[in-house]
Symmetry: none
Subunit: 358 residues, 2 copies
């Protein structure tokens, strides 16, 4: 999982991908995933890949590409959060001369570049509303429009999206369009977290050690049984990427001690709202958390209903304006929001276009 510059490097070195057996391991869930992938690769339908950060979503996406009929076509990856709002649109859809100050020439967007190939949108949850709409149109009828252009263009692209968040929640929060979700969620690949398939860890470990031994001319031996056990017990918040980096360090430093310190055991999950009968769990904290959560949902809903007019919302909620602000703040909701359409700040970027949704 070479982390390259998110946007450049269009045609990525596919050769660096680890062999299939390593990617998938031997867990049931991953077997199912592999089969599913084989089935869907050939059909030109959008794919949504969901999985925690570091689970290798980009590798899966690339595998979809190379096993599809468009494998000879371009492979274009766009890492959405890496590009600030306004630029992302021009990056994706391109622009015509004079579309905005500084646009002296015209430029094709990534979407066009991906014609007859695969367009991979990483972290799609980060797209702002306006771009979501444009993307939706692209998915609905294969059309899009450069910024500042008069007419629509038509492309054929296979779209693969990835995210590490639960889009369902984003929809409830109002930060993701539900119609876009239904559109990209035709096929859903959920990649389990590494800790959920710890039986694959030995295989991965040996692969990485071998790989880095070769690359660094190392002689690091297989880890001891105890260390392997520790590796399997660890909960890997960074998933495979973390494992890979740890193995890299192990090979370079060459001693087990140098990494065993990082494997501190399973910290107590503070957010498990469930009712852990066993240990002491302050009821206060749980209820507090729950109240926050609930308030957040309600406030969000009411605010949306009132077009983010806080005064009205506060009145509707029967709390003081000031209190609502408090709650909004510590609910982590956007504290500055232009009233409509969710699109803020960019004065003049996005132009044009029908985009879909009914």
């Amino acid at each position: 999982m070479s982390v390259t510059n998110p946007v450049s490097a269009l045609i990525q070195p596919l050769g660096e991908m680890p062999p299939e057996s390593v990617v998938f391991g031997s867990t049931d869930a991953m077997h199912a995933l592999r089969e599913r992938l084989a089935k869907i690769a050939g059909a030109n339908v959008p794919v949504l890949i969901q999985g925690e950060s570091g689970t290798g979503k980009d590798i899966i996406a690339r595998m979809i590409h190379v096993s599809s009929p468009w494998k000879t076509g371009p492979w274009v990856k766009v890492n959405c959060p890496a590009i600030p709002g306004t630029l992302l649109e021009s990056e994706l859809f391109g622009y015509e001369k004079g579309a905005f100050t500084g646009a002296y020439g015209s430029k094709p967007g990534r979407v066009e570049m991906a014609h007859r190939g695969t367009l991979f949108l990483d972290e799609i949850s980060e797209l702002d509303m306006a771009l979501q709409s444009k993307l939706l149109q692209l998915l609905q009828d294969g059309q899009f429009c450069r910024i500042g252009a008069q007419e629509d263009k038509r492309v054929e692209v296979r779209v693969v999206c990835a995210t590490n968040r639960k889009l369902e929640e984003e929809i409830i929060n109002g930060t993701f369009r539900s119609d876009l979700f239904y559109r990209i969620n035709v096929v859903n690949l959920h990649i389990p977290a590494l800790r959920e398939r710890s039986s694959d860890i030995p295989q991965l470990v040996s692969y990485f050690i071998e790989h880095y031994n070769r690359r660094f001319n190392g002689r690091a031996p297989m880890p001891s049984a105890e260390l392997m056990k520790a590796l399997m017990r660890y909960h890997w918040p960074g998933n495979i990427r973390e494992l890979e980096n740890l193995m890299k360090r192990y090979v370079i430093l060459g001693s087990e001690d140098s990494i065993s310190g990082d494997l501190r055991p399973h910290e107590p999950d503070l957010f498990s709202a469930d009712i852990p009968v066993d240990g002491q769990v302050s009821l206060k904290k749980i209820t507090r958390q729950a109240v926050r959560e609930l308030e957040r949902k309600i406030i969000l809903k009411v605010l949306q209903h009132h077009h983010w007019n806080r005064k009205q919302a506060a009145k509707a909620l029967n709390i003081s304006y000031r209190a609502l602000l408090y709650k909004i703040r510590d609910a982590g909701l956007p504290s500055n929001r232009t009233p409509r359409s969710g699109a803020h700040e960019d004065a003049q970027a996005a132009v044009n276009e029908t985009a879909a949704a009914d």
Copy 2:
């Protein structure tokens, strides 16, 4: 003008539209809708289409267009929320050279492009007030004015609007002009949600399966009776679009298991974040209620785990013994004593009995 181009794209492959029988199904409400549509298509009056997201408002709108006398004219669709505020105006009405910085040339708007054709405004509730006014003028006397232009222009367009919100409420909220509403609401087509016409689902399912079998060279059989029942029970928040995508997935993946997981029945969440949109229902009350509910569950569980020993339970919950008693009381939990040798005719025992004992 280059109108033809954008519009060429807009003259969409209507061939891809499902046959009428599928769009409408056999529900009474949809029959009525079809008749109504036939009646109004020919008259040059504005139409307002209301229906949840994904119910196929755009298809209906297109059907209006193709069955109207202007079917040879352009079909122009504008998705309002896709375009941030200021730009939408130039997009809709066009601008003259020099109207604002960056306007080096003049540009016709979508309204002009739709001359002698149909203009479809999707999600019209997202229009801001200023544009609502301009649109109102257009509807009233067929005139509009490019940004920066001196004189008005005149066009003949059939205007069709769609929204998934209740405009009546928007009016009350002051976010939609009532006069515009009356103007576009001359004919009102309300499209029922899919869940409200579940008897159409089998027909739709078979249509989609056939369609996608053909497109993907699939061999997916009709779903089993149980699956069909599940499909009809599901509440389809994404309406037809969701159904379509689910069927797509079914055809591609080829197994019922691959989709049955998505049909989980309408679970009302742990403590649902429901209602408050309607009237002003205080937030406090709701949260209070929710907290009670949650506390009740937790306390019950902890108590059971501790064999109804309140002292231990209180300690486990990190609250004072006394406080636990309070909570137990106003959670309506059995406040009786060791239920063992009940020489006591407690009204509400019922619960514990067997539980305690040791």
